[in-house]
Symmetry: C2
């Protein structure tokens, strides 16, 4: 029911205990260190995606259970925020917080590296396409 603004307190509290060390790289990778999390952030940052099914549609084909888990964790970490679309109560809108937007330089560095060393990669993230919002309809 009350899924938005849920009890994420003790969940994120316990996550702090899971930190492997106090190194900032290690702290960052505790959150971002997997094959999917930064792709979700890429989708919001460079492709203006905001809906669950938009992330599912990306070419890497994330599974819906993994996506659900990552969105939950990113919200717990305050990297994305989640709200119902006021115009359509079925829809949830995911947006980046400032903390999330601040990942832009790291993503850009990865894009540059990936583009430089992977000869078959596109030179833009997933053929980067700003839709100019108006995400659909």
């Amino acid at each position: 029911m009350n899924r938005i603004g849920k009890i994420k307190h003790n969940v994120s509290m316990t996550k702090d205990q899971n930190k492997r060390s106090s190194c900032p790289v290690s702290c960052a990778l505790d959150i971002l260190g997997d094959k999917w999390t930064l792709l979700v952030i890429r989708d919001i940052l460079f492709k203006d995606k905001q809906h669950f099914r938009d992330f599912l549609a990306s070419p890497e084909k994330i599974a819906s259970n993994i996506l659900s888990d990552r969105l939950k964790k990113l919200e717990e970490c305050n990297i994305i925020s989640r709200q119902r679309d006021p115009l359509n109560a079925r829809r949830v809108i995911y947006t980046l917080t400032e903390k999330g937007k601040d990942l832009s330089p790291a993503l850009h560095a990865l894009i540059h590296w990936g583009a430089k060393y992977d000869p078959e990669s596109n030179k833009q993230p997933c053929s980067m396409q700003h839709t100019g919002r108006m995400s659909e309809t």
Copy 2:
């Protein structure tokens, strides 16, 4: 026996097929997207570590089988190179290739982000300590 310079050809060939998409972010994460790989690179880049035991000694406590696996994959991807220490044949020296050194900007971006948003993190990667080797220009 002849472990150095081994047959890594078809292994890395098959890895190319595993690419999830041609997006440079996705390509980068296919290699770097896990909790340990970038920590190994951090250790070489910022802590001048070069030996198997040195990586094991980092505070995040990587398991030796995982470390072994990551070093193997990083060598296959041409991010690190591996050579015997000419002065002590028991020792293997791991160093970054140009491709590996080029991950420095991405690591720095992660350090900056991790340090900014994790109040309990040190502001340097694992209390960064150059041993004076000057591995990079």
